[in-house]
Each structure stands twice: as C-alpha cells, then as structure tokens.
C-alpha cells in the first residue's frame, strides 16, 4: 500500500491550498479528487474576486485556479484525479477508486476538503426538465459552453443567484427575473446592481408557486409572500421561461467526516451540520483536519485560507515546522481570515466560527 505524510480529499481551492502549504514545508502530499479536473468551483467562476491583494482581489476565479495549479506543479504536489474517495479506515487509510479499481493510500495526517453541495427546492413541477441548480447552469455556460436555456428565472438572491444570473446574461440568456423569499436581497448589493443595470427585475418577498410545461418547463407562476412567508392569494404572476435555476444555499459535503466519527455541531450560518474543529482546523479525531466548505459554507477566498491553515498545522504536527515558525504562519492566515469575516456580511460568519471552535474546546475540556 502506498504511504505518504498527508492525504487531502478534495482538490478545490481549500484542498489545493492545503497541499501547497504542506509541499512548501517540505512534506509529502497527495491530493485526491473525484473530478477530471482539479480546482473545484474556481474554473467556473469567471467574475473578479473581492478581497485584498493577498486574496488576489480583482483577479477572475479561473485565473486564481490556474495559479494554484501552477504552484502545485512547481512544488511537486501529487494530484490524483478521477478518483472518488469512498472511505477512510483504521490507521488513516484512504480508499478510493481509479480506473475501475480499488486503491488505498495511507497518510500520517488527513485533510478533508470535500466542499459543499447545492440545496434543492420542492414545488409543483420542480421535477420538470429545465429546473436545475444554479451551479449546474454555471458549469454548463462557463465550463462546457452550453446555454441551458434562453429565458431563465433565478430563485435565490444570495451571491450565487446574483452572480450566476449575471453570467447567464453574459452568455446570451435573458434572465426574466430573480425571486427571493426574504424581504431583502441577501448577497452583495454590487452583484445585484449588475443584474439590475441589465434590466432584470428582483422580486423580493416572492416565491415560486409552480412550474408548468409539457415535458419541459415553459411557464412559471410566482407569488408574493407575507411577513410569515405565506403565499398571498391573488398576487400570482405567470412568466414565460424555459429554465428555472435554484440558488437557495449550499450544504457541507460531510459524509466522510460522519462515517469516521468526527463530532458535529449545527450552525445554520454555515449551511447546517459541520464538524467541530479547533484553531488548527483539526477535527475531534486527532490528525484529521477539515477546511473549506465542509467546515462551514463560505466562499473561495476563505476556503483557500482555511486550507492553508490546515496545511501549516499538519506540517507542524509532522515536525516540518517549529512551533514558533508555525505560530507565525498561522497568525498571518488568521489575520487574513478575520479580514474576510469582517463587516456587515462577515460578522455573523466570524461569530459562528468562534462558536464552532468553542464547541470543540468544550468537548476537549470535558
């Protein structure tokens, strides 16, 4: 059986950043990813990122992905693609499939960076072809260059709903409207302004009542909601659409962490059940780290920083960094993470992260 110092499950922004940090410290590292291409969601993110210079602000997502890949190559990070991990067993043995065969790799440390999955929404007609996740539509236009439809209704005004609406318009689709159940837009106003300038109406306090069509979506009925999120009769509106995109949040992909017995805690801000972890991103199982959306759904910049943190901490525990050096490096990452979790949009995430870490500490002190 192959052995290495660190095995990373997931080659998205968090996993690649973790791999880079371990290789930088001189560690041996293998990244496993179920996809044919590494980079996670970065390669479909054609918009310029927010943040500061250290977060590569102003750079488009796919260009950040390209930079990460170049760095992994230069540093000799072993990346195995098309290799779904389906279990982790005693002695930190990671089992994955590749080319139709079962393979095993044993790591001294393991970093889980498995990402998140899109939430769905049920309404009459939601099973009709043409109803899809916003992320799926984004993959179609920005990776596969296929327009999923000409007339789109977007559901959800978080940053995913806003950004994907904009990118659908850039790809040539007509976004006939964006529906949001809450009374206000939840994503960044600047993203909302981009689609507003393009003439897209934003229907706050609205929901989808039903999708209609014979074999595929051809119309959608939307409806206004009262303060208690109940549909107001008589406010229905029918729109001609051929596609309905659902952007109602993401949930951490945490199956592997559950099966190996990591302790979880429920934090709605982060998309639901998330593994408890300490300031080193280490889960309640010694030597198993988490980073990126699995440890709480945020965005790519904080996922990369969390990956760096887990990587540095894993290298430290392998003796590749002195305690002093690791403390300095981890301090720098924490400063950048705190910066990203600042302001009116970040404050809640900062508090939630503190809660998540404090729940780990409570258990540790028992």
């Amino acid at each position: 059986m192959k052995e290495t110092q660190v095995v990373i499950v997931g080659g998205g922004p968090a996993g690649l950043a973790a791999g880079i940090e371990i290789a930088k410290s001189g560690g041996q590292v293998t990244v496993l990813d179920e996809n044919k291409k590494p980079g996670g969601q970065l390669f479909k993110q054609i918009h310029k990122f927010f943040g500061s210079r250290e977060h590569l602000a102003g750079t488009r997502g796919y260009e950040i992905g390209t930079k990460l890949l170049e760095e992994t190559k230069e540093l000799g990070v072993d990346v195995i693609l098309d290799a779904p991990v389906y279990g982790i067993f005693e002695g930190k043995t990671v089992v994955y499939s590749k080319d139709g065969k079962q393979h095993q790799i044993k790591g001294d440390k393991i970093i889980l960076a498995t990402g998140a999955t899109e939430n769905t929404l049920a309404f009459p007609g939601s099973d009709l072809p043409g109803v899809m996740g916003a992320g799926a539509a984004q993959t179609m236009i920005n990776v596969n260059r296929v327009l999923p439809g000409k007339k789109v209704l977007m559901v959800g005004s978080g940053n995913v709903g806003l950004i994907v609406s904009y990118q659908l318009m850039q790809a040539g689709a007509d976004v006939v409207g964006l529906v949001e159940a809450a009374p206000n837009v939840s994503g960044y106003g600047v993203h909302a302004s981009k689609i507003s300038r393009g003439g897209v109406p934003i229907y706050t306090s609205h929901t989808v009542k039903r999708a209609m069509g014979d074999g595929e979506v051809s119309k959608v009925e939307i409806c206004e909601l009262d303060e208690r999120f109940q549909m107001i009769e008589g406010t229905e509106k029918i729109l001609d659409v051929d596609t309905i995109c659902i952007a109602v949040g993401l949930s951490p992909m945490s199956e592997i962490a559950w099966t190996i017995g990591c302790d979880f805690t429920f934090i709605p801000t982060f998309g639901g059940h998330v593994p408890k972890h300490n300031e080193n991103m280490e889960s309640t199982i010694s030597g198993i780290y988490v980073s990126g959306d699995i440890s709480g759904v945020e965005e790519a910049s904080s996922a990369m920083e969390e990956g760096r943190l887990a990587g540095i901490a894993a290298s430290e525990s392998l003796g590749l960094y002195s305690e002093e050096k690791a403390k300095e490096l981890k301090g720098q990452v924490w400063n950048r993470l705190n910066t990203l979790r600042d302001g009116e949009f970040g404050e809640k995430r900062k508090q939630s992260k503190n809660v998540q870490i404090s729940r780990y500490m409570e258990d540790a002190n028992e």
């Binding site: 918009h47 310029k48 990122f49 927010f50 943040g51 500061s52 210079r53 602000a57 102003g58 750079t59 488009r60 005004s157 318009m169 850039q170 009374p183 206000n184 837009v185 960044y188 106003g189 600047v190 993203h191 909302a192 302004s193 981009k194 689609i195 507003s196 300038r197 393009g198 003439g199 897209v200 934003i202 706050t204 910066t339 990203l340 600042d342 302001g343 009116e344 949009f345 970040g346």
Partner: protein, 166 residues
Amino acid sequence: MNKGVKFTGVPSMEEIKGCPGTPGEERFEKGPVVSIECVQKIPCNPCEAACPFGAIEVGSSITSLPKLDEEKCIGCGVCIPKCPGLAIFKIHKNYSEKTSMVEFPFEYLPLPEKGDQVPCGDRFGKYIADGKVLDVKNDKKNDGTTLISVEIPKEYFMGIRTIYRG
C-alpha cells in the same frame, strides 16, 4: 416600497449621495471625476491600490467604504475596471454646453462602436435617453472589463449608468 440596495438591488439616491465615494455637487462642475457607488461594507480594496494619485482610501480595515479625495481625483478612470463590483463610474458633467460624458464598465457582447447612437439606461436598466458612444476601451490590462463612454444630455449625468440592453 422599501428603497435602497438591500431591497431593490439598486442603491437609492440617498445612499449614493451619502457614501464617501461620491464627489460633491461642486466637484462635478470642475471637470471629470469618478463616482464610487459602493454603499455596503464588503471586504474589498483593489480600488485603493489602483489609483495612481492616491485619491482612494479604504484603509487597514478592508471592509471600510472607499473614500474619494475629490481634489486628488483627476477622473482618469484607471480604477473602474479594477472594481470587482463594477461600481465605479467616470462622470464629466460639463462635457459640452448641453451634454455630459459618462463612462461605465461593460462586460457583455456585442460591444458598440465609437460613434454609434445607443439607447442608454439607468441603474435599473430602464431606457432614459439616447447617447453617442465616444470611446470603447478594451485594453488587455482591463482583463475583460470594457469601458464605454457615452455623450448624453446633461440632465441625466447622475441617472444614466449603462447602455439599455432592450
């Protein structure tokens, strides 16, 4: 209906006029200047580094709103394509006796050509008036964010922010 960016997706005139990136009325009279319509505290600061004249200050807390030093700003517009929020516009109120010039970021195809007469829209994308395309800047350093400047009737210098897309 509730006004403001959180409710409509478009900052209200009060929000725009109250934000530290908007120049004062007097400054608009003096010549080209940028208007940074950034009204929410999001972690972001590329505009600060982009300005060659040090006219934009975000400071050490990158969630602070960008503050425009209207004396230092010459209206070069270098900051416009650097803003990931596409929230910076260049305005030359007194472009001529009866017209103003507005320059905005644009990331759609097809692009108009210099000299074209185009319908122009407001922050809701609603048609306001026709304008004449003065320039289409698509430099490589702008990384896909094209800058389009249009000559428009002067009364709409605070209203027109894009090409009407039909």
